[in-house]
Symmetry: D2
Subunit: 466 residues, 4 copies
């Protein structure tokens, strides 16, 4: 995907009992390694000698935290969160981890995913007198936990009860004065990995974050599993054991290429998607290029399978940040593209296979194809290493409403014409399933085929998110 | 009081149904006029067409809000709050108004005062599963309101039930999508005034804020009264009618000289305190000076009654702000006082009556007296326009713990020696009562005589404050 | 003057050979004490072991410098500057001290005053190839110094030559790697004082700044004098000895009441102005009030001489800063005055003498008088403790153009009608001269009588200022 | 080069007579496209109706300018500058364009390069009385221009005289109220290109900047050429015609892959460097990988020539900014690399050719090689697409002092051992010459062979830079 058309909604990191007050520092690096999962805000809550402190704010991890703040936080244990958000002016309240006071002291919660029944649960609780600070489903999870804690023997039991009630995709870390608990939804829709740094257990959305802090991956938290870390050590409770449905888009676009999710490496999966694309469509040309940078592994796979050389078609300006002033309409019409510029010398006179990971709205790819033609490309064949995105996600990815998904309204032929490609080919659903067959979990393909694995309300109000 | 030894804890302002989206703007000026009641943070919540927006942050009113923000807020109705706080790094959550979601939508609350049973109520509610975001007693009031709303017919009834349960000094404004409600504790400890701007009712802690926005004062909200503004107009409910006990320190030090509280003008009260000081002690000298600027009105009263001319003893540098770097110990010993410098030419060779409003810790007055002697004053007689402060306040003023109150441990003679004055005289309790006799309420004198009008826990944990 | 109608243009401070790297810290406090002389920007240049460092920026002294910056600067010797400016967006270049590289290394200069022939000197030098970074006359002084240094034996000689060429009011501090030199214009129009802190000589615009750092005043730098501090000690050169003309507005409005200028204390001078006002006009009433706070000393003088009691008519809100949003026109018409509010209780029913230090544009005094009437004052007699301001200043005070001076166009009777006073009286020129007779210098009264002591171009282009 | 070991020192952009006040906007995008040439500060000076305005500050282009500022600047003509700098606290004065006042009004100058005789020229001028604001050689160029203008008929003549005096590498843009003039040093060491946007001529360091604003490249400014744009149109003056020596490092590392410099495309040149590496050394393995991202084109060339498949060995975290907190020593020893993480799945068990563009200090490549081994790579052969860097640059690239260049002190065999590679191969000097043979200019190879094309002082003091 060339531009920020699609957003992961959050990454989490947690560490238990880190020596020398290093919990906040490790979480800083664990979040930094997952910055691609959320650039809008970041937060860390720590406990130290049974006391909780936290800091959170809008901004990148490195903008939110400086050395003084990390030294202030210190911490034996910590959880952290990076977040992408769409809300307006007063969003500081929504920044995670959320921290609250309840009967047993302070509790912090960090959540990646989306509940589809958060609004119902919220209404129910409000009718019983509950007060909410935010409109996030994360606060609903926390409120359920605290409520269920009143009638259970332990926080772990309260989590079990909560998991029976909340529905959706969720990977959650909870920090209290003496415990760090992780739990993952029944279908394992969102990722969550257990690792170890020195002698300290840690959790992360992606395995790369564990490697970033010098740790080793132990295993994925299982779908429907609770892992509780306390002075007594690690306790695992498997609440659900149904067949799993992991988000296929993590492999296609979101996750880092060096992450292994459910036993399958992301780079390898993308290579295989590219190979499969050639197997399915067999289009030949002079050069395979990627739409930088997310399409590169699939482009290499296509090149390997087809024998067509891989080359670069674009220079990518990596300095585009939040404060960049977008070119005015007249400049865009003049072909100004702030981020991607064709390497004219390398594309002119060539027939090109351009590999992209996905097409969501389809608003920018037309200009990208055109820029290649303007630079002298003879043919531009677009290969997409995923099936057409025809349905919205309700489990934690910020897909636009259906009416904005180009493939929900248009056939492949129509899209090909719309984007001005000489040909357009998508990976088949079967092909995608094949490339993901090495994962230990099944796949959620709802955004491609509408087969939503969790029954329930799938309207806009169920997209409150973390 | 020469330095910031004592802090009011909050000021509030509210306006109902202001035309042309002017609610936020009026509240801005209403808060600005009450900036002396809290400089640490400021916030405004508005409703417009039944929707609530808000903005709040640490800083002065004019730092927190700019024109763009006021235009964004607009608002038909609004409440606002300025706050002094003592908490640490993560205090943004404590900034008021607090805004929450409950069964009937959003609700905002701004509070001036302190409950003495907030921690008990909080424990009770947490044991029933309640979750708190902050540690302020304001959130306890809001939680009680929402809880009582479940079993009552109206928000006004829920407030009545809440007023039966919460104990302490409080002046509260509550804003919902269709109402603005004010209520004041049974004893009327903290101030609250009703006014009108054009056709719009408004509330403020001090009458001067109502004049600042071009409005007129109607009357004080009565102790134990609820005033509810809605489309049906103004409804008044008198929940308690016991005899009142208004905070005497508002007259002595906190309030603006142009404010009238409970029918008594602050400047006039202070003049009378100064006159009474002379009547009680009759010390003669060459010149009466004030400790700038809070002691000036009492100094003038002393001058009037005694016939001794009033003059200025000090130049006051008004630029000392939060970022000012305090002089190092060695500079302080060299007589460096960043804020007050004696006007040598005017004090040398003179016998001085120096009038201050109160002595709390007594840490700076010694140096002030010394600076006058260094400048050549022959005698320095210190007159304090209040009785010795011997007890902590638990109703909304940030007095230090008893052990830090100089008059709790020392006799007047000892204090006189400590501060190096030729004589030291306090206003008598009877004298103070006399000067406040023009007010429509009785006086709380607990900080002078320990006669706490509300029974209950008076330990540090009951000082959570707004 | 009630509002910021008139601005001093700069204050300076310098210290030579301060032990323990304290030069920057002392200069910080010396500038802080002179913050009223310029609030737009501040800067400090230091030398340490023969190397120069500096920091300067827009903002108050306490905003520009923090402890880290002061520690970085340290310094054996230092000069500093506070500045009021009227320029536009790109003004950081104009912030002083200006620091330049020349043949002998770095040189820094801080200047209070205004040259009237800066533009001519600048044109001359540009025609010879000179390049300027700013449009300030301070840079012209520095350029002259460097130019004259080429043909002289010492920097002191170069200063003497420069003083023969530049014309206007100036008090200048120059810092080089081994010297700190002060010089004052021939007429001593702007103030400059020599003091000592410990064993270190220091200079300041006002004596109060020397007291602020725990130092003692030695004497004023004489008009036309150069004082050079070096390892050889203090050297004084008297370049001019003509009769002096010190700015009378320093006594009337600008300087601190605790400063002594040319041997005359400012507070005492203002008291005498008030006494003289009564002697000249003899108006009786019920109470004398000040326009806070600059009119207070004169109001007290009026009270002393007349026997009419002094009281406060206004509460002054001291929180009005640069970011304060000015009330809209409709609010102002409704009587909203952000800064001054009448103490209704104290003025209603009374005949008042309201003393102000000066009237420049006369735009706000009308509303102030009106607010007293609205509050119930029966009569309002305005007494101004200076003669009518009829001419612009070209020597360092930012008076508006003549056409904006109300007294340049209108008679006293017209002004009285315009501001709505029952009577209006100014101090006579003779009266002013009398009150300043205790100073060791003569007075510049050009803004009152147009008698400009320095011949030359008095057009707008000659007001480039420091 | 994996980390920021080497810095280009500046990029420039200028546009003449842009319609609709678009000069600042176009310059913004032109600078943004060249952000890789300098990330420390940015500035734009414009002229509009013969008046000059400017804004410049530390920070990225998009941080320094917002829409409001661009609208304020507007402009008919403009020059802009991005800068990398090594100086300390007070560097705002050094930010370019430098703007000065001289006899004919304002003049602005933006410079990419480094003079080797700036300090001498500066001393000469200071001895004649010149004053400098900065320590940059850019200010020396400007001072020479202004000085020579006194004795010449036109600014163009003054530039010719100046080019006879200044020695080094320089590409300069000068803006006056009515002209935009570009000039390039005799050897054409630094790049400079002429383009056209609509009907407006423009200049940029790299051709990609011209394409970014929707323009077309006309030709490079020739070595030793002056191009002057005025109302009379474009005037070209060829001051020198000696044989040229363009910086080869622009092709190796600095320039964008989509830029054409002197007729040679950067991407193509790098592909050829990779091909030539294989031709020279012929090392075979299982996979060719790049050190992201600067080594990629050469890695592809190596892959093409050898037939060994290209793959990715690393995930690169692109969020590392200036405020990122560097991992502590113990974390680095644990293998933590904030920016590059090996894709274990793709490198384990493989024999790797790792292609990098250059090795300067050699401090980080050892850890990168080690991280591949830790991830399971069987062999790591390092291929460097440039010859060993053995000499410092004095013409505009911030190479470290010689003693910090690993190849200045060590043989290739020693370096191979130091970095822990199985083999290490550099491109030969002859090979490099061959790959650059398509350029219209000769090459400066001084950093490889010490053959400095401009005689003169090559000590640290001659590295003052733009």
């Amino acid at each position: 995907m060339p531009f920020d058309e699609l957003h992961e909604e959050c990454g989490v990191f947690g560490i238990y009992n880190s020596p020398d007050r290093h919990a906040a520092v490790h979480t800083y690096y664990g979040l930094f390694a997952q910055q691609h999962r959320g650039q809008e805000s970041a937060g860390i809550a720590v406990t130290e000698n049974g006391k909780m402190k936290y800091h959170k704010k809008q901004g990148l991890v490195q903008e939110v935290f400086d050395e003084e703040m990390l030294a202030f936080l210190g911490g034996d244990s910590a959880i952290g969160h990076v977040r992408y958000s769409t809300t307006g002016k007063n969003i500081v309240e929504n920044v995670q981890p959320i921290v609250r006071n309840y009967r047993e002291g302070k509790i912090a919660l960090a959540h990646n995913g989306n509940l589809i029944n958060a609004h119902e649960l919220r209404d129910e609780m409000e009718n019983l007198g509950a007060i909410f600070q935010t409109t996030t489903d994360s606060e609903v999870i926390l409120a359920q936990l605290v409520k269920n804690r009143l009638t259970t023997e332990s926080l772990e039991e309260a989590i079990q009860e909560t998991m029976q009630i909340i529905r959706g995709g969720y990977s959650v870390l909870v920090l209290t004065n003496d415990k760090l608990i992780a739990f993952r939804d029944a279908l394992g829709i969102r990722p969550l990995t257990l690792g170890i740094v020195g002698d300290s257990y840690c959790f992360a959305s992606e395995s790369a974050a564990i490697q970033m802090v010098g740790g080793e991956v132990i295993r994925d938290v299982a779908p429907g599993e609770i892992i509780s870390l306390s002075r007594e050590g690690l306790q695992s409770i498997r609440v659900f054991t149904e067949s799993s449905r992991f988000c296929s888009f993590e492999y296609i676009y979101f996750a880092r290429t060096d992450s292994n999710l459910n036993g399958l490496n992301v780079y390898s999966a993308r290579l295989e998607m590219g190979r499969q694309l050639f197997r399915e469509h067999g289009v030949m040309a002079d050069m395979v290029i990627d739409v930088p940078s997310s399409g590169m592994a699939a482009a290499l796979g296509y090149s390997y399978e087809s024998g067509i050389p891989f080359g670069r078609g674009f220079f990518r300006n990596s300095y585009v940040g939040r404060t960049f002033i977008k070119p005015a309409q007249n400049m865009r019409e003049a072909g100004v593209n702030a981020k991607l510029a064709p390497i004219t010398e390398n594309v002119k006179g060539k027939r090109l296979i351009m590999v992209d990971d996905s097409i969501v709205r389809g608003t920018t790819i037309r200009r990208i194809v055109q820029s290649l033609r303007d630079a002298g490309a003879v043919e531009v064949h677009v290969m997409v290493s995923s099936p057409p995105v025809r349905y919205s996600c309700f489990y934690g990815i910020d897909t636009p409403k259906r009416q904005h998904l180009i493939a929900a309204k248009h056939s492949v032929a129509e899209i090909q014409q719309e984007i001005g490609a000489d040909s357009l080919h998508y990976l088949s659903l079967e092909g995608l399933r094949h490339t993901l067959s090495g994962a230990s979990t099944g796949s959620c393909l709802a955004c491609f085929n509408g087969d939503y694995p969790i029954p329930g309300d799938l309207t806009e109000q169920s997209k409150t998110c973390c």
